[in-house]
């Protein structure tokens, strides 16, 4: 079992990549793999947007379109947004708590390979007879049954998603154990960086949410192949049961895809405001509240089934807006009175706030069942969900990449290209998804490849397609930026941003076991304290009086 120092990124042997148990290399595998899947999912989106530019069916077959949106959703959710968060956590969570590695390095290696394997299984299902799964990323029974979805594509989807779920569960165990067992002396729970806090809470969510998904998928597989009738009403099964199981996973999954990025934004905004985080305790409690509430709102995806008229799910969904609002106000409070520097990571964070706000307030509208009777399964939901996961998570993913790339590689990305990418994606994103709210209100249902030309859907669809191409240009410039950074190898230095957390104390990239030495940890921003150790005012100001459980357990 070999492990490696961070210079592996500069060109290690292939065997080293395959056999590594080092958390940083595994993190890079996670991030690199997720980005490849992001490009694949993006390509699928471009094909769909091209098809929808005109009302009639132009160049895709009906089934190909259904395969595309199914695998697009599956890819973006299971193979990009969730795992790239786990990738950043793999790399930076041990660094942020002053640990030499994750708690279970070999299990960590297993996780990343299960994830990559699952991704390959899902993508390769395009080559299966009858094509890939085409029942939507939710795979509702009975459409996903043997009758509704014949052929091995659906089975490959089930197995691929199962593999990535198992991978996520293992990583969640690993991250949780790492936070509880491997914190450096002085790193009490209430001095944890918010990214680490949010990854801990995300891990808890994964541990609760993914087993029901595994159960639902296993039941589906048994129904398909071993004569089970879990979801077959003709034999006493229940169609609605699948939806309960799926969304009991599905809604916490939304926060698995969002909380890590709340954490990233909460790391970046203070650094570029030259202030500490405003309302640290409130931020932690808000993350916990979001996680808790997210376990109790799953049936708001099922209002139109007529099977859940319990207002409990509505009020809980409304209430999630409160802790999310606290986060927004804390971010604003952090910027308030600061000295804001608009470097590329900060730009992405501001874009995140602007877009996610729209995702959030439309989420409140969707919490009302009668309004949902109109919105459900229309482009309104598509727009809302993309504002949360695209405008929200994706923007924060770019923020994380631009913020941490210098630390991971030791090289600088171009500030100029980064700004260009930001504006292309920002403009393209809004031109793509804003018209979809209008489409939804005009009654355009999701998951259709063609539509009537005379019901007012054509112009918004044309706009959305134009926006998608603008975004695609942004992504291409981003790839150029990555390539030029590796080619020019301009050194970034250990601490290009004036960071607050421990990863900025060590070298870029960090040595094999992360730290040669650690500064004293007396607050949630030990690197900042260390830089200002001569300034008595700062040391006094940053003293946190909240007692933590002490280092280690």
């Amino acid at each position: 079992m070999s492990s490696h120092d961070g210079e592996l990124g500069g060109g290690g042997r292939l065997l080293d990549w395959v056999t590594t148990t080092n958390h940083k290399t595994i993190g890079q595998l996670y991030i690199g793999g997720s980005l490849v899947f992001f490009l694949a999912g993006g390509l699928m989106a471009m094909l769909m947007r091209s098809e929808l530019a005109t009302p009639s069916l132009s160049f895709l077959s009906k089934n190909a379109y259904n395969e595309l949106f199914t695998i697009h959703g599956t890819t973006m959710i299971f193979l990009f947004i969730a795992p790239i968060g786990l990738g950043f956590a793999n790399y930076f969570l041990p660094l942020q708590i002053g640990a030499p590695d994750m708690a279970f390095p070999r299990m960590n290696a297993l996780s990343v390979w299960l994830f990559l394997l699952g991704g390959v299984v899902i993508q390769s299902s395009f080559g299966a007879s009858h094509g890939a799964a085409a029942a939507g990323w939710t795979a509702y029974a009975p459409l996903s049954s043997k009758v509704g979805s014949p052929g091995p594509g659906m089975d490959m989807w089930i197995m691929g998603v199962l593999l990535t779920s198992i991978s996520s569960i293992l990583t969640a165990v690993n991250l949780t154990a790492t936070v509880f067992m491997l914190r450096a002396p002085g790193m009490t729970m209430f001095r944890l960086p918010l990214f680490t806090w949010n990854m801990l809470i995300t891990s808890m969510l994964i541990l609760v949410a993914f087993p029901p998904l595994a159960a639902a998928l296993s039941m589906l597989f048994i129904d398909r192949h071993f004569g089970g009738h879990f979801f077959d009403p003709a034999h006493g099964g229940s169609v609605v049961l699948y939806q309960h199981l799926f969304w009991f996973f599905g809604h916490p999954e939304v926060y698995v895809m969002v909380l890590p990025w709340f954490g990233v934004v909460t790391e970046i905004i203070p650094v570029f405001s030259r202030k500490p985080l405003f309302g640290y305790i409130g931020m932690v409690l808000a993350s916990m509240a979001i996680a808790a509430l997210s376990m109790s709102v799953w049936a708001h995806h099922m209002f139109t089934t007529g099977a859940v008229d319990n207002p409990f799910f509505s009020i809980m969904s409304f209430l999630i807006a409160v802790p999310t609002g606290i986060k927004f106000f804390n971010w604003i409070g952090t910027m308030w009175g600061g000295k804001l520097v608009f470097s590329v990571p900060m730009l992405w964070c501001l874009g995140f706030m602007g877009n996610f706000l729209i995702g959030g307030i439309t989420g409140v509208m969707l919490a009302a069942p009668p309004a949902d009777y109109q919105f459900q399964d229309t482009y309104f939901v598509v727009a809302h969900m993309h504002y949360v996961l695209g405008g929200g998570s994706l923007f924060a993913i770019f923020a994380a990449i631009y913020y941490w790339f210098p630390k991971m590689t030791g090289f600088r990305l171009s500030e100029k290209l980064g700004r260009t990418v930001f504006w292309f994606v920002m403009v393209g994103f809004n031109v793509t998804f804003w018209p979809m709210f209008v489409l939804g209100l005009r009654g355009m249902q999701r998951r259709i490849a063609y539509y009537p030309p005379n019901v007012g859907w054509t112009t918004p669809n044309e706009l959305a397609t134009v926006g998608a191409f603008i975004m695609a240009v942004g992504v291409l410039i981003f790839l150029t930026d990555l390539v030029q950074a590796f080619r020019h190898k301009r050194p970034a230095g250990d601490d290009p941003w004036g960071g607050y957390t421990l990863e900025w104390i060590t070298s870029s990239p960090p040595p094999e076991h992360n730290f040669e030495w650690l500064p004293p940890i007396r607050s949630d921003r030990p690197a900042f304290d260390w830089r200002h150790r001569e300034d008595p005012r700062v040391v006094h100001d940053t003293h946190i009086t909240v007692p933590g459980p002490g280092p280690g357990l």
């Binding site: 169609v239 139109t304 249902q445 490849a449 009537p452």
Partner: protein, 275 residues
């Protein structure tokens, strides 16, 4: 298009339902221009939601307006705060490099922006509940009963009291079935499916409900004004999902009775199209 060859449509010949579906184009004239601008303005205020072709849909539209304007209010406030922070607190070119005030918390403020949102969502929830109770209310003895059965990939509308059903032909969206319903009367719609899940969705009604195998869903609608409403399937059901178009033509009670009488006892009527 030619529609529903075998269905008896009293009155006019065969209007172009597609062209009559949702957005009608007003003629040119000062009144219509004025009306159009007003509609545009209101439409903009509505942010595009239909006013509601049923009383239930109108109710939903009312709730939607409340949610929409609250969202606008919250959104504008937060955007203003963000923009103010960006403009006011950006680092100036002549910055001396000193640290700004290292404020960490302000408990009363934090309590305020926790409590105020709780009050806002509690109010919205209350209004939501009241609307939901009205929209989901089902009367014991409706004037008309119709059962909509979704199948891959069309609809069958059954009028059990008059012993006939109208079934769409699997194929293109232009062959969807057309049914008539009376204005001003309570209509009870029962939803069923046997193959996969479908969803009965009429955008003009601001309403949809799923047709779920093994489950029967029932809801009431009252259509206040005559018109033609386009319906569709909202739940993915396979490759013909987009083809499950249907039309509801709301007519006077008397005309509806004539239509019922004309089809009485005819059993299964195919809404075939010759092209």
């Amino acid at each position: 298009m030619r529609l529903v060859a075998q269905v008896a449509v009293p009155g006019a010949g065969r209007p172009d339902w597609h062209a009559m579906a949702p957005r009608r184009r007003p003629g040119i004239g000062p009144t219509t221009i004025g009306a159009a601008s007003l509609a545009l303005l209101l439409g903009a205020c509505n942010f595009g939601m239909n006013p509601g072709g049923t009383t239930q849909g109108q109710d939903i539209n009312g709730l939607y307006r409340l949610l929409f304007w609250t969202a606008i209010g919250v959104g504008v406030t937060v955007y203003a705060l963000i923009l103010w922070s960006i403009v006011r607190y950006r680092r100036r070119p002549d910055d001396d490099g000193s640290l700004p005030d290292q404020t960490r918390y302000h408990v009363p403020l934090e309590i305020a922006y926790t409590v105020i949102p709780v009050m806002i969502v509690a109010f919205l929830f209350m209004m939501t509940l009241r609307t939901e109770d009205r929209v989901d209310a089902v009367v014991p003895n409706p004037a008309v009963k119709v059962t909509a059965v979704g199948f891959r990939w069309q609809w069958r509308f059954e009028f059990p009291d008059s012993a006939f059903s109208i079934v769409g032909v699997n194929g293109s969206p232009t062959t969807g079935p057309m049914i008539e319903l009376p204005v001003g009367q309570t209509i009870q719609v029962t939803l069923q499916a046997s193959d996969v899940i479908h969803s009965f969705f009429v955008p003009d009604f601001n309403f949809k409900r799923d047709d779920i195998p093994g489950r029967t869903n029932v809801f009431d609608i009252t259509i206040p004004r005559a018109g033609v409403f386009r319906g569709e399937c909202a739940e993915l059901c396979g490759i013909g999902h987009a083809d499950m178009t249907f039309y509801i033509r709301a007519v006077s009670a008397a005309e509806f009775q004539r239509w019922l009488a004309a089809n009485q006892g005819k059993g299964l009527i195919e809404s075939a199209s010759t092209g």
